[in-house]
Amino acid sequence: MGLFKGLKQSITRVTDRLFADEDQKRIGIYGPPNAGKTTLANRIARDWTGDAIGPESQVPHETRRARRKENVEIKRNGNSVTIDIVDTPGVATKVDYEEFLDYDLEEDEAIRRSREATEGVAEAMHWLREDVEGVIYVLDSTNDPFTQVNTMLIGIIESRDLPVLIFANKIDLDESSVQRIENAFPQHETVPLSALEGDNMDEVYTKIAEYFG
């Protein structure tokens, strides 16, 4: 009797876990430093919840902790999808505190910032392996996308079978090339946008609903 009861409870737990988050996926916003991830996260959060997620800045590694915004409900074409947005620190394979000195930071502050940045990148990798169910990969479309960090991260995302959308950000800038990003990652859909100016956000929300709904 006890055995059957235990078995039933186990099955209930497993099915609860399987279906609990079915309607609400945790979407990680990933990409290299200064791609505009927080600007995008803030725009999405402001458009649909009225609140921002975190501070934006020109200084690399401004975001040094993963930040989550829950229950972001996006309405598209009569349907609605609810997602949790996780804004993550930009991923890099090196962090040199001396680079922060170029942004008028004192040495102590630069060292503290670089230490937090390294912790943040490690945290972002952990989230990617354990805690996100879909990825928005943000690239600065004025930069060369053929970098090792981008290739490795897209490879890691693919190996985990996570749905991924590539966002070619900063299309408001003259040097922007969306084509270069499409050529770099032809196996994935690329959506052009300017998170700062709000350009092409209609398509952004339609694709988010389509991919992660």
Binding site: V91, A92, T93, K94, V95, D96, Y97, I111, S114, R115, T118, E119, V121, A122, M125, H126, L128, R129, F146, Q148, T151, M152, G155, I156, E158, S159, R160, D161, Q187
Partner: protein
Amino acid sequence: MIEMAEVKEAGDGVRIDMISGERMQGLASMEKIRMILDGVRDGNIVILEQGLSPDEESKLIEVTMSEINPEDFNGIEIETYPRSQTDDSSFLDRLMGRESTSKLTVIGPANQIETLHKDENLISALVSRR
């Protein structure tokens, strides 16, 4: 314990360790990462014949980040080619460990590699002495 073969003190030179796929095959993920980072932190260039799996690359970034400190280590430069073939393998292949990870990989200390360029069939590294 995993150790590279003993070599003479490198002095002013730059040591390059070329590690065969066969040697890596017998190692657990963390042993591979430890071997790479120990070499790179000693100022060596590490070349892997067969590279790492995406999961191992992810852990390499994570462990690298945890070891960066302002005094003596600011991270790694890494380049691979060809690109990871993971998107061509099926989920079952990956589940069964049949994932293709064969990609030449060059890893070195970020503060000693001034340029690490890659095109379709060439990786070019300019390495400064310590």
